[in-house]
């Protein structure tokens, strides 16, 4: 359980960090809080030649909130989100989801950028990013690019990040005050990885019908996913017990979760249906 041998660098600018990553032809990794990477190193699931620590990079640790939405620097920690009281209004879905992330000590180190780049299919932040159509700002040798969450997550622990690229910021679009939402997940112990989770939001049109429904799920595929067929069931209809039941049934039918040591696929599918039903009821209350 000891990490393999590697070199360590702590550059002071993003450009310098990108240069270091580029110099190793895919054999360098970024570290910041290290709450996902350190276990990977301990298990020797990762064995980079060089770790590039973002510790000295300034300006990546801020939470900016304005009329365009919420921008989280890559080094924003879970405890920073927890302590930012503005988010209860500016992005309640994010604030609620982050309450489920890991345990106390990990929340003091773990970062938004780290979770997104690690791309665990059952992690909360990737689920929120996927559901909310987040935009990722990515800096590499070729310059800066912006990637939608949908294109960012490419598989289990896989993203579209190139070896010389660093995720610097995630942008969550503006959140209308009247928006309806819910985040629910199920884990045997709070703070552990969820067996399944659901993030959802929608707006109500002038006649009280659901519009702009966004439903995401974690822990049920090789990456966080949107349940577009469930969204289609919801859009255009007033919230009712019948609609909740139809949407839950659709969710159960459309997800195809893998079976692993923690739960059979069918159980996870049932969980998603149950969580979605509870979430929709909660959102309408």
């Amino acid at each position: 359980m000891k990490p393999p041998i590697f070199e360590y660098a702590s550059p002071s600018t993003v450009a310098e960090a990108v240069g270091l990553l580029a110099s190793r032809d895919g054999n360098a990794k970024v570290i910041s809080g290290g709450q996902s990477l350190m276990p990977m190193l301990a298990f020797r699931l990762a064995a980079p030649e060089l770790l590039v620590d973002l510790k000295h990079l300034k300006d990546l640790g801020a939470i900016h909130i304005d009329e365009d939405g919420v921008r989280l620097g890559a080094k924003v920690r879970w405890c920073d989100i927890e302590c930012d009281t503005r988010l209860a209004v500016s992005h309640p879905l994010l604030a609620e989801a982050i309450k489920h992330v890991a345990h106390y000590q990990i929340r003091n180190r773990g970062t938004v950028g780290g979770s997104l780049a690690h791309a665990d299919p059952s992690a909360e932040m990737p689920g929120v990013a996927m559901t909310c159509e987040a935009r990722m700002t990515i800096v590499g040798s070729a310059g800066t690019r912006v990637e939608m969450a949908d294109n960012f997550f490419t598989g289990p622990l896989q993203t579209s990040l190139e070896p010389d690229e660093i995720l610097t910021e995630v942008h969550l679009p503006a959140w209308p005050v009247a928006r309806r939402w819910a985040f629910l997940e199920f884990a045997r112990r709070k703070g552990d990885f969820a067996m399944a989770g659901v993030a959802l939001y929608y707006d109500l049109d002038s006649r009280g019908r659901v519009s702009n429904a966004h439903v995401g799920a974690i822990g049920v595929a090789d990456r966080p996913i949107r349940l577009t067929e469930v969204e289609a069931v919801l859009n255009g209809n007033p919230m009712s017990e019948k609609l909740v039941a139809t949407a839950s049934a659709k969710a159960r039918e459309t997800v195809d979760p893998p079976t692993d040591i923690h739960a059979p696929g069918a159980y996870r599918a049932a969980l998603v249906a149950t969580l979605l039903g509870r979430g929709l009821k909660k959102s309408a209350a």
């Binding site: 359980m1 990490p3 041998i5 350190m38 703070g191």
Partner: protein
Amino acid sequence: MQIEFNLNGQLVGADVEPRTTLADCIRNDFGQTGTHLACEHGVCGACTVLLNGEAVRSCLMLAAQVQGEQVVTVEGLSGDELTPLQAAFRKHHALQCGFCTPGFITTAHALLSHEPNADEERIREVLSGNLCRCSGYIPIVEAVLESRSFYQDAGSK
């Protein structure tokens, strides 16, 4: 590589491999074996130390990452006398084999330093990041609950 940091109030230096975890550095380079290592992958909480006053898992950090920072281990919390928190652990029999105890003490100390009015639910939530394989959680929670008054008094002075 050479690193320097503040360990329990003293500036210390060591020559470590980049892959050395903070936990191994504290134990092996400085002989401060109060910080216990069990799972070594961030699940059990036994290795919890304070980094600039915040509870962190020292197995999930590199020694290189604490360059210039302040680290406090369980040894740094008390002098010759037990702290009120430690005394409460003894009073409530909040330890059996004792292996997990340093992690619980450092975690609870960080919590009560920041949130001296934490209620039982909050205490349980925070301590859920620490495992006691003797499963003696109830006395641990009782000890932490009782210790709150000392932190409340310290905060009001």
